[in-house]
Each structure stands twice: as C-alpha cells, then as structure tokens.
Symmetry: D2
Subunit: 426 residues, 4 copies
C-alpha cells in the first residue's frame, strides 16, 4: 500500500526537505536516501514530481503492490503505478500437454474492442471442441560477441571452444540448478565472432539466467583462457526484442503451434464469415500483403494479443517484438470448413521472475492455473505458452472474419443495387 506513515515532526521535516531537494535539483531522484522506507520514498518522489510539474498525481498513487519490492526488483525511482484495465476472455478450450480443457484468459489493454474480438474467437474455438496446441521449449539464447585479429585467430578460438564445450557447460550450469545449456553455435565473419548459447531455464523466461551464465563463462573461462576479448555480452545475434530471421528459423524461448478446424456452421453463425472469404483474406492480407510490405510477420495481429496477455501476466512487454513474428495459415477443408493455425517461433515467456510476482499479475497467472511446481520445473511456463497459443489463434480468426463479414455485408448491398450500378464500374 502506498500510505505514508509520518511518525514524528523530525520525519516530517526531513520529508519536506527531501521533497524540496528533489524539486530544486540538489538531489537526484535516485539519490533519495536508502534508509527512507520504500513507500515513503515513493511518495516523496511523487510529491516532488507533482510540485515540479504542477500536476496532481492521485491516480499514480493508487496501487496495492509492495513499494519496497517494486522499487527493488521492478522499477527504480518508483513514483507509483500505471493502471491498465484488465478484462477476461473465454473460456477457451485448449488441448495441450499441460492443459486439456477450458480456461479463462485475463488480458490487460487500453485498446477498446480487442477483448470483445478475441472473446468471439474463443467462442468459435470452444464450440468446435477446442484448439490443439504444441509447444517446444527451444530455450533462451544469448550471443556474446568477440574480436579476433584474423581468421586464423578466430579459428583457433573456435577450435578451443569446441574442445572445451564440456567445461563451458559445467560453468554455465553451475550458475543455476534450473539452467541447462542445450546449444552453443558460433557464427563468424571477418574478425567478429558470435557464440550463440542456448539454455532451457525451467519456469523462468530466462534472459537474466542466460546472461549470468554467459557472463560467468566468458569472464571466468573463455576470456582468460583464450585471450580473445569479448566486446559485448550481448552481440545482437541472440537476438533479443528484435524481429529477426535467426529466431524465426531456429526458435527462441517457446516455439508454439496452435490449430483448429472450423465447420461451415460455426464460420457462419459465430464468425459471420465463410470459408472462401477467410481463405482469401489470409492469402491477400497475411501472405501477399506482408510480402509486399517486407514485413517480418505473416499474420493479422499477433502483437495485440501478445501485448494484452503479457501485460496481464507479468511478462516483459518488449518481447512482443520478436514474439509476434509468426505465420498464420488458413486452408479450405471439405464442406465449407477451414483449417486454421498460428505459429509463434520466438516466444519468450515465464511463470516466475519478471513481473510475475506482482499482485495483479500473480492473480492473473492463478486465473490461468499457472502455478510453478519446483518438482516439475518448466511445466507452468509450458501451460502459459499453450494457453497463449490458443488465444492468439482466437484473435486471428476473429479479426480476419471481421474483415470478411464487412465484405460480405457490402457484397449483399451490391447485389441489391441492380444492374445499372455496374455500368459505372471499371
């Protein structure tokens, strides 16, 4: 809670002085003394910001998480909260390895109509018996970049790396009992060497674990033994929070597939569309449109669903960038049905760490039944990914159908306008 208890006149004085110091710039916001309790420090900073900017900050003050934890683990220079409205969609029926049934899905967004749309997709999927989801834990990657003086030196370095992979693994895996090194692939040209490490990290999204493991391996083993300097612990061949072919091709975090077959009646009654129209939107928009645009993402709006889900469940919202680079498929089936699938090749996700421990996010995860179990590390994160996969499929179906039904409506209008109208056409 954000209430500030003022115990004594001295404290009050001190508080006013601190606010004043922030206001006049003699103290920086990160210099608020550590001995001031976090909740107090938060309100002091907020009061200073309010004074400096002449703005009342009542809403920002309105939060229920513990300021101390938040200021330490989540957000330095804490002044309060951003409130994002949270709603519920579903139930959606999901068939996966960790879930086989219905689930309600919390989503947080400020963009009206999004949840209503996803909800309609959930209904369609539920009414045909559910979506099938496959998730692979391909692992979190991190790629330090090194500098050699020549190809000769680079090749000697790579030879050393190949010969010492067991030691490298041992050092890496010594940093966490949940981290397993599952790959180490070099990429070089000129004098630049990338070592792309891959780790599974249990229920954690794993970026921090991967970075710590790489740091230990690089500082403690590779640099001292080879003399080849690491220029940056992240060499952008990882690659984090960028739409990238290397992640599209090899996967990162979780790789998710979800699919469903929708019959003609559901298409007509729930999604207000039909097979032919949906297949055409897929073809001209998701395939040809993205090709024309040079877009890395052959889908309608993965990013919207991911954002709302990530914010609700305490994921890193910047991971929506790589997370949304996948391919939707819609194919005609017999009797006016369609097959629909989504594919998320690069989905970093966690059931612990990041924002998952904050109050609202933790509750959202419990709504999803996502509860880490130390005896089965990784299962909670898999469940999270399976549910998200189904939700993304629901979002695609509903938005794509929306395009076609407006189309249908207009087609009907045109049909009624008679022949003379056509004369003006091309």
């Amino acid at each position: 809670m954000s209430k500030v208890k003022v115990a004594s006149p001295e404290a009050a004085t001190s508080r006013a002085d601190t606010v004043q110091a922030l206001v006049n710039g003699s103290m920086r916001f990160h210099e608020v003394p550590a001995e001031i309790p976090a909740a107090d420090a938060t309100s002091i900073r907020r009061e200073a910001v309010a004074k400096i900017t002449g703005t009342a900050l009542d809403a920002i003050a309105h939060f229920s998480f513990d300021a101390g934890t938040a200021a330490t683990r989540h957000c330095e220079n804490l002044i309060g909260v951003a409130q994002i409205p949270m709603g519920i969609v579903g139930p959606i029926t999901v068939h996966g390895d960790t879930i086989d049934g219905d689930v309600l899905v919390p989503m947080a967004t400020t963009e009206g109509a999004l949840l209503a749309s996803i909800n309609r997709g959930c209904a369609a999927i539920r009414l045909v018996g559910g979506a099938t989801v496959y998730v692979e834990d391909v692992g979190m990657t991190r790629a330090p970049v090194f500098r050699a003086r020549s190809q000769r030196e680079a090749r000697a370095f790579l030879k050393w790396i190949a010969e010492h992979e067991p030691q490298i693994r041992e050092v890496a895996e010594g940093t966490s009992r949940f981290l397993k090194m599952t790959g180490l692939r070099p990429y070089i040209f000129g004098t630049t060497i990338f070592l792309r490490f891959r780790f599974t990290t249990g229920d954690a999204m794993g970026m921090n674990m991967a970075t710590i493991a790489c740091d230990r391996v690089v500082r403690g083993l590779i640099e001292p033994k080879t003399g080849i300097p690491c220029v940056a612990l992240s060499g952008n061949y990882c690659v984090d929070k960028k739409a990238a072919q290397v992640n599209f091709s090899e996967g990162r975090g979780k790789r998710v597939h979800a699919e469903v077959v929708l019959d003609a009646a559901i298409l007509r009654d729930v999604l207000k569309t039909d097979s032919r129209s949906l297949v055409e939107v897929q073809y001209r928009k998701n395939l040809l449109g993205s090709i024309a645009a040079g877009a890395m993402g052959y889908n309608a709006h993965y990013a919207n669903v991911l954002s709302a889900f990530f914010i609700a469940t305490g994921q890193d919202p910047a991971h929506v960038v790589g997370g949304s680079t996948g391919v939707t498929c819609i194919e005609p089936r017999e009797n006016g049905a369609v097959y629909a699938s989504i594919f998320l090749p690069d989905l970093p996700l966690g059931a612990i760490g990041g924002g998952t421990a904050l109050g609202t996010q933790s509750e959202a995860l419990r709504i999803l039944g996502v509860v880490p179990d130390a005896d089965h590390p990784g299962q909670a994160a898999m469940r999270l990914a399976e549910i998200l996969g189904a939700a993304v499929l629901a979002g695609e179906l509903s938005l794509m159908a929306a395009f076609t039904s407006s189309d249908l409506a207009r087609a009907h209008q045109r049909l009624g306008r008679g022949a003379q109208e056509g004369d003006k056409g091309v």
Copy 2:
C-alpha cells in the same frame, strides 16, 4: 473506484444470480446485462472468475479509473486492473521544436534495472547540454487490399483512383476535421491491389481515424463506383504492428531523430566508458550482430524504452513492434568524444485517444507537459515524440556503455595478470 454499492435485497439477489450464471456457464462474460452499472458488472465478473478459478483477486480489484469508461472505451469484460510500477527518469534536456529544456520522464515497467540505466543516460545527455531531436509527422497509413480479375482491370482501377483523388480526399477528410490525406500510393502484382493511404491526424495516433476514413472511402466511393471488391480494409501493406521494410523506408506515424555529442570526460565519469569502446560495441553488436541475425533493428534496446514509455503514457504497447525498428549510430569525434544518434522511422504516437485519458496515463502525460491544444492540433503529439526520442537515445548510450565498462574492467584485470597468462591464450 471499484466499490460496489448494493442498494436493495433484490439487487443482492440479482447479483448472486448473475455471478452464479457466469460460474455455471449459462451466461457468458460479455452477456452481463447492460443495465447493471459498470462498476457492479466489473465486480460481478471478477467474483465469478474468482469462484471459477479458486483465486482471490484483491489486487486486480484495486484501481482508480472509472469502470464505466474503461469497460466502454478500453477493455471489454472488465474485471479490474493490471498494475505496472511507474518510476521517473531524468531530467533529460531536450532541444526540439516543441520543447527546449528539461523534462522528467515517467516510465512503467516490471523489469528491474531498466529505469536506472535510462536515468544514467539522461544524466550524461543533460550534462553535455541536451539532445537535439527532430520529429517529422509522416502520418498514419492504412492500406485496403482489393481483388481484380486481371492486370487490365487493375490498371483501369488505378486510373480511376488517380483521376478521382480529389473526391477520395474529400470523402476521407470529411470524416474528421483533424484528418488530412497526405498520400495515396498503389502497389500491385497479379490480381492484388493495395492502396496505401497516408493521413496526418492531429494529436491522435490515428489508426482508428485512418480506418474510419478508409472505410468511408472504400464503402462509399471506390467499391460502388469501380465494382472492384475490397477484400480487407487492412491489407498488411499498411503495415500495423509488424517490423516492416515499407515503414522503415517511408516512415509511419512519427519519424524521429535524436543526437548528442558526448565528450571524453562525460564518457569516462558518467558512462564509465570511452570513445573507442563505445564505437566498437556499435560496430560489432548493433551493426554486424543485427546483420548476422537478419534482425530488423540495428540498435541495442529501443523496445525496452518504448515499452516503458508507451505503458506509462497510454500508447498502444503493440506499436512497440514497428516502433523499435531503427538504427543507432555512434561515431568517433575529436579528442575522445563521440557522436551518438538514434532513428525511429515508424513511431505511432498520440496525445489523445487510446489509453491517454485513463487516470494514471493522463497524469503521466501532464508530467511530460503534453497537453493537447485544439488550436494547435498535433503539437502535443510532437512534444511526446521529441521527449521519447531523447529518452531512447539515453537508453542506448547507457546500455551500450554498460557492455563496454564490464569490458574495460576485465581488460584491467587482464593487464594485471602478467605475461605468463598470455601464454595460455590462443
């Protein structure tokens, strides 16, 4: 506030029945009767979710926005809130068209260390006198996709479009006094035609305004007059929320440049780095690493800064996807200084609409001095973009410096280890 006032026994009965109907599935979450006040409906849904999932949802209940507005404009099936910790960075000194001085920047994140890092970059920029920012309002784009039967038909269609551009503009601009049509570019191959419309939209991010304008133009003018059907109002050649070359090349929303020159003393004392190291991280990570990865984004972590800024200020967080596809440059200057710049070619942003009217977001915008003025539409959004540009530059500098200083530290260690260590090297 989320308090629910229960006026009478009948209401109480009704409430329990509604909850029960949601729990047993006889009522769907979007079917909660419209006559129930929004705050009540929100708590009813939340209570049902809690019962269904066996989860207490106290934190989610803790919000201060108006449920009615939130449920109508921002988030259907509202159950409460996702709380994202908000902190403050800066002041950062910004020189632009709409701002020339210091500003404090609110950011909301769950990822620890991010604000501390950006804050350090702000200090460096402030200490050298500020960052210069240039923002172009290149406008929001929307590209409906049409289907022809042949190139002949497609070309007749394009001829019609070219000849009727004044009428198209008139219809489009009739949908909002803030919307101006600034471009209309076709792209065709085979039987598929994209019309890429471009609009300036005042202080709004403009995606909805652009969609409404396109809908009116397509339904009211183009389809009836040409007979060529529109397959989808968004043909992914827009392209929204995807990393895409067409946006990288032509711009979308705001196009932002920010730059600063940092002298050797600031590099050393504030960023704990030096010119040579920073230039090398730029070269091997941001350029060669992203090239190796096939990444559309030649930067360190634009996505992190954008996410935190977008969530705090009520932007659409899914726009981080396209928003983060830019290029950082770091170049050596005389006497150990560096020139640093960032470039955001595809930044949709708004000072009104979306989540900007919500309580915490609205306060965050006022902290930034972003206050729309109907007499000068567009100025508030420009200010927002200018501040963000400087903040992104601060974020890049600080993270890139962090890589190098760990490097420097290790270099010092190595220097101290003496000659015999080198013998083991490659």
Copy 3:
C-alpha cells in the same frame, strides 16, 4: 576474328619477347603495349597464359567479335572468349505495348533441361492465345552517400537540395539527351545522407548514364555549393545488384507484369498438371517456402530464365540478382482453369550499351526484333522487357507443373498399391 598476322621478323621477335615478359612477370598483362594491335595483344596474352599454366587454349581463341572493340569496351586483358551454348524457345505469344504476336526467344545456358522446360511453358501460353505483359519504365537509380556533422547540417543540406532541384535536373540532363531525371528522394539518419536519384535512360540500361549524371551533379554542383562531402558516388541505397526491399517496393529499371489464364485442357495436355496441384505448389513452395527461408523472391526460378536471356542478349548478368526478386501468383479459376502471373519489380535492361553490340548478342536481339530507333528511344528496351516477362511466366508454369506431375504420377502409383500399404503409413 582472332587470327594474328605477323608482318615481319621484327614483329615476330617482338611478339616472342612480349610473351616472355608476361611469362616471367617483368610485364603485367595490362602493360602489353598499346601500339600492338588488339588481336595480336589478345593472342600474345593468351599464349603467355598458356605457357605459364601449361594449358592449350584453343577454344578460348575461337571467337568472331572484333578484339579491339571487345578489349576496349567490354573486357580488359582480353585473351579470347567464353562460349555459352545458345538455343531457341518459342514461339511465345506476347501482348504488350510494343509487341502483339509471336516471337522466338534465344537463350544461352550451360544447364541442360532449362530450355526444354521454358519451351513447354511457351507452348502452353501460345496455345491459350498468349500472355499479356505490362512494363513500366520506372527508371535507373543511383544514390550517392554524403556525410554531415549533425542533423542540423543534414537538414540544411536537404533544404538546399529541395530548393535547387531544377538546377540539379538541368546539370544531370545536360550529360545525355536520352537521360531524364524523374526523381530525387533523400534518406537520412544520424550523419549519413543518401540522395536517391532516378532517371529514365532511353534504350540503355542506364547504370553508366546515371553514374555520370550523378558525378556531374555531385562534383559540379552539390559538393562545391554545400560543402557537404560525398563519401561514395554509390551509397548502396541505389541499390545495384543486390536483392533489396527498396527496389522491390519502388521499382528499378523496368517493372514487369505478365499474366495468362490456362484452361483445364491445356493444363492437362501440355503441362501434365491440374489447377489444384499447381495452386498448391504455388502456396507451399513459392509463398510458404520462401517465407520460411527468409528469401527475397517468391517464385520458382526467375533467376534461371533471366540468366539465360541476359547472357544471350548482352545484358549484365550480375543484374539477375535484383532482377529475380519478384512474386509469382497462381490462382484457381472456374472450370479447372488457373490464373498465373509473374512480377519483376527490379529489372535493369537495355537494348543498347553493355554487351548488346557484340556479334552474337546483337544477332540475338535482332531475332527478338529489338532494334533501337533513335526517333523512339526506349521502345526497343520496352520490347525486350515485354518478351522477357512472357518468357519468365513460361518458365514458372513449366517448372511448377513439373513438380506437380511427378506428384500426380506417384499419387497414381499409390492408388494402385491397395489398402494394406496404407497401414504402414502415419
């Protein structure tokens, strides 16, 4: 002809000495004295190469072009010829602006089966009445790159450019009466400025004309007047001989569309396929396969057809790189027919210049009826592009059909194998 006439003992002595000097390295191959006639110099170099490498070079000696012209305009250090077998495909029926009828197409290749395949596609197109081709002369581009010290300086530079576009055009167009400047678009970030010039260049491919025009403009006008240095006359934003989104999006050289509708009988009898199979190959190979590969080229084998056509007709074969980055479409039509189209967004082509004046290439152009007419500059190059567009379409249809007919054959085999076989299946 390559015969060397030896006029006198002195010449013979001199010749032997020159060969010996090349063999022992005291003379470099480009140092053969200019006063030696080109044919002699060619045979002298060839003899020296033969001696140095112990290789008889009889075939390389066998050419019919004029050595003097070849050595001066086409290939320094001339030793002879590479002979590429040339064959003929067609006739193919082409409906365009400059051609409306049948044409035989010469192609040069060393890759067996290519011409037979294209020839089958030509037959299919001819039998349904021909392909319709549309060519736009979008023009040749060249983009010098400049260095500014700051965005301020860069923006002042761009302002100067915008204000002086008439003068720039005048200088550019003063370099050739066939060159028209049709565009000048800047692109900047950080301190780097690209000016992307666009020119139409009559019947020439135009790269050299564009370079000369840019050189004159940059050296004579832009650099002296602005003081902003040009770092390279080609800044790779042109971009030449690379698969690139900027060319895909904006076009370069000629932009070509060709299309045809094939009925079920032709599909069956000539191409040994059917509509459903061809549409599926298009979907899974040309669209999904190229998406999966991150390939800039959504087609089966444009590069093969372009290479064979370019070599036969004296085009620059390195232009196949950008030339092959287009999109094939195959769509089902009524009664088992298909609509098929090809799209070449970036096709540099010329009817004069480059290798077009060489004997065999000149003859190949005459086979095509491509004869530049000074009174109608550009028409010959348009005709060349129209024919190539149709040939590329023929190549796509035939190869894609080949995939499906082998598929059909196997399907038939499977059908005959009986039920027990299926039991082993997945």
Copy 4:
C-alpha cells in the same frame, strides 16, 4: 565446329524441307528429328530462325564446342553460341588449404572496366604477400515440401523421419558414391513440412545430385512408408538461386572467408586511397547503405566478380543470386593500415558437371589449376572456391578505393579553393 557437311541431294532436300517446316510452324524447334546429326540440326534450326526473323546469324554460328554434347547436356534447341569476351586478371597470391601461391584468373564479361578494377585489387593483394582464404564445404541443400492434415500428423511424420534417418541416409547415399548426407533438418508450421537435406557432393556443385537423392528418398521411402504426400521436391526452403536468410545463416555450397592486411603505402600507391577513407566507405555504403536499402548483401559488388568468374569457369550464373549475399569488412589497423575481409556464406560451385566440360570453360579451369582428382574428390572445387574468394576480395578493395580516391581528389580541390568558398556552404 559448326560446319554442316551435306552428303547427298536427298539430304539436301531433307534439310531444306526441315528448315521450311520450322519456318512455317508445321514442325516445332524441339521436333527436329533425332536422327539428324546434332551439328546439322543446329544449323537447320539456326537457318530457320534466320529466315523467320530475317536476321543473319553468322556470329552465333561461330563456336568450337561439340554440338552433340552441347545439345544433349547443356542447351536444348541449340542454334549456336553466345560469345562472352574472356580476359585475365592477376596473378593474385592465395593462401588456402589447396593453393599457396600465385594464380592467374580468367573472367568473362561484357562490362568494361571490371577486369581492370579487379586486376588492380589483385596487384595490391599480391604486393602485400597474398590473401588468406578459408573455405568450408557446408554442402548442397534441397528441401522437399510435404502436406500433413494436422500438427498431430506432422509430428508423427517427423518422429518417423527421426527414427529412420539411417535408412534415409542409406538410400540417399546409394545414388552416388560422391554424395554424403550431412544433415536433415525439418521446419514446420501449420500443415506444411519442409525437410532440409544437406549433402556434400565431391567436386560437383551438387544441385542435381541432391535432387536425385531427394527424389529417391521421397519416392522410394518417405512417401510410401508414411503416406504423407510430397507437394514439390523443391519447397523453396532449400533455397536455390534466391537471396535468403536461411542460406546466409546456415551456409550452402561453399562458405568462404578471405582476408588481407594492407599497409598505408600499398593503399596510397596502388589503390590511391587511405585507411580512413576506405573505412568510411565501408561504414556508410556497405553497412548503412545496405541497411537503409533493406539489401541482403553488405558489400560493394560481389555479384560482378562472381558473374565474370562463373561464366568463365562453367558455373551456373543464376547462382550469383545467392552467391553474392555476403558481408565485407574493412577495419583500421595501426600505422594507417587496414584489415579487409569478404564473406560468402552461400556459394554453390563445382569443378565438374554443369558447364565445366565445355571447351572454353574447361580451359579456364585448367588456367586455374582446377583439375578434379578422383582420389581426392572435392579438392578441385575447394581450390576453385579459394581462388574466387581472393578475387572477390580484390574486387571489393579496388572498387571501394575508387570511390574514395575520387573523393580524395575532390577534397584536394576544395582545400585549394580558399576560405571564401566555404561561406557559401551549408
């Protein structure tokens, strides 16, 4: 030789009739009777083309290869030859696994100035002691595409593939004693499955060997045993003759690195440049320019060097498309020197097969000392790749230097103009 001996009046009559049949269209060009000797058939077709088009085809008639072999293995519907001028560059000094010394390099082109430029780069490299080249035989790839009905079916298929990899390898390797299967990687989304096979193929480029092996495996093993149909033997995830990230990342054919350090004197005296200028061209053109263009190729003109080398040595010129997608690096070294490297990730090359057996091409390979040795398969192709790597490096250095020296010249001019000129500058 292309001379046609006419033995008897009957033959003469027959010949005239055949020509006439071709001319009037009653016989197609591929229907010339097989019993007519190839040389005769070639001249008959050529005569018919000449008559139809009213064109004398004397140059096209002028070739020295055997018409029978050419018509059978290289080019159907043979009418003669395309003559491409061939010249010589070098010697260039190459240090690799298969070559350690000087080599002369034949190149065939119609584009003037190319050989002169490469030749200058060869001189620079030779004068500093040579280029070091590393070549990896990463192997030829081919990726058939299959259709499943569902992810479940697709996963069962992949399980079968994984379990039967030994049998698959056995079948594949049974098609040629030179073919080794070195990889089999699936990629799936939706109902589409790609199996990306990788093979080493001795001295052959290997595309045909790979296709035959895949055909045998698919027809003989995978389809009958799994029941999953192959839609196309090439699913564009191979990917052949397209610029593609999957090849850039994983390599295809040969992966080639070449490097050299050039001191200040060589830069100045041979290349007319200096370290600072060359590094800047690399930065603004090859890196930033290609990034701006969305170009897959961070180099100056690999495509030119590859084209000329490929045509001279009988390679498939369409392979220049993928072959030219690499990265050049230029980095400053001490005392005004530079380090320069090239990287070719996707270079299909062969010393046998394709056009290598044709007369002029075979002689060109012998000039290079590329002579396949059945006891050491693969060595000749490696030598070919090593030489090409060095030549590409020479081409980059020379062209990039050319940009800078024109720059230097102008800089000198500017320096002489005095101060008043600067006043007019930006």
